[in-house]
Symmetry: C2
Subunit: 200 residues, 2 copies
């Protein structure tokens, strides 16, 4: 009811930005919050503002965090691990953490190479990654990019950096379904892919 309540219309429109939320679902969400749960609605509003405003990226691995260093990079043991796993997103990092199979450190690209979209090595922080490779202390870099065209191109680029710095590079076994997205895999497929990783 656009005329009846501009604020309600604004809320419905704003909810449609969420993935998978169309006009009908947005309307239902708005009414349900207004009718039954205004406190939770305010809490969500504040959580959104806080998160959008204050969550940045870890100075070392680039994952989402409001701290300067994320929990893994602040961990004395994990941050010194000789294994570094490169992932495309914080969600992929999260999915691997949930398998409990990996106790090394990460580097989060926050994307993949896509020259047509203006996403080159600098946008993915690959200069920072190269500094880490140059510093030494990394015995093996594990590529866990998405098994897609862009993910593969990104993997090849990073493998090249590893060769240049004499760092062994491996890649998740092809238990990962081609064309799929890493964050949707079940934990056991991902575990198998991890332990079956091969030289790249």
């Amino acid at each position: 009811m656009p005329a009846s309540s501009p604020l309600l219309q604004q809320l419905i429109d704003a909810l449609k930005v969420l993935p998978g939320v169309g006009p009908k679902t947005a309307q239902r969400m708005a009414f349900q919050l207004l009718e039954r749960n205004r406190e939770a609605g305010k809490k969500l509003g504040n959580a959104l503002l806080n998160a959008m405003e204050h969550i940045g990226q870890c100075r070392c691995c680039r994952t989402f965090t409001e701290a300067e260093l994320c929990a893994i990079c602040s961990d004395d043991v994990r941050s010194q691990s000789p294994l570094l796993c490169v992932v495309g997103s914080s969600a992929d990092l999260q999915a691997i953490e949930q398998t409990g199979q990996f106790d090394g450190r990460y580097f989060v690209l926050m994307g993949q190479l896509s020259p047509l979209d203006g996403i080159g090595p600098a946008e993915l922080g690959l200069n920072v990654l190269e500094q880490q490779l140059a510093q030494g202390g990394i015995a093996e870099l594990i590529l866990a990019t998405n098994p897609t065209v862009e993910g593969d191109a990104t993997a090849y680029y990073i493998a090249e950096l590893c060769h240049r710095h004499q760092v062994t590079v491996s890649r998740l076994a092809q238990g990962v379904p081609v064309g799929g997205e890493l964050e949707y895999l079940d934990g056991s497929t991902l575990s198998h892919a991890f332990s079956g990783r091969k030289s790249f």
Copy 2:
């Protein structure tokens, strides 16, 4: 990643309050906003806070609005209509408006009688409705409550008020599927139910 980012965890938890949003969907929503659309995330945050804070109910018909009177009750023609349609929620009002079949006024119960949950006539504003019936000017009250046990009980209660004030009362035709929820009906079923309404 609870340890890595408390703000992210708070956002994911807060998103789960939305209907149909489980942990996995909430995580995906949070990451997508953080990665691609922080401005839209802030806009949604502000829209939620504004709506939860400022949207109240129309003094006359009880529908959601931030004004004292909603657009329909402020409309010189519609607010003087001899037809008054009683609905359970603002969403139901919205669904009927979208059929374009009805140009009278509304009364929004914001619920249905449910003594076990402490929802009696006063909670549904039925004292206000009775005042409107007593004032005169309503030739017919159309019951558009949900075709459920509670909706039926509510309809009978209101029909009783109408009889007391010599106001004709009708009810949506039983094109409405029994046990269903009004706001999910397609417009044409709802149109038929409207034009086929019968004396109650």
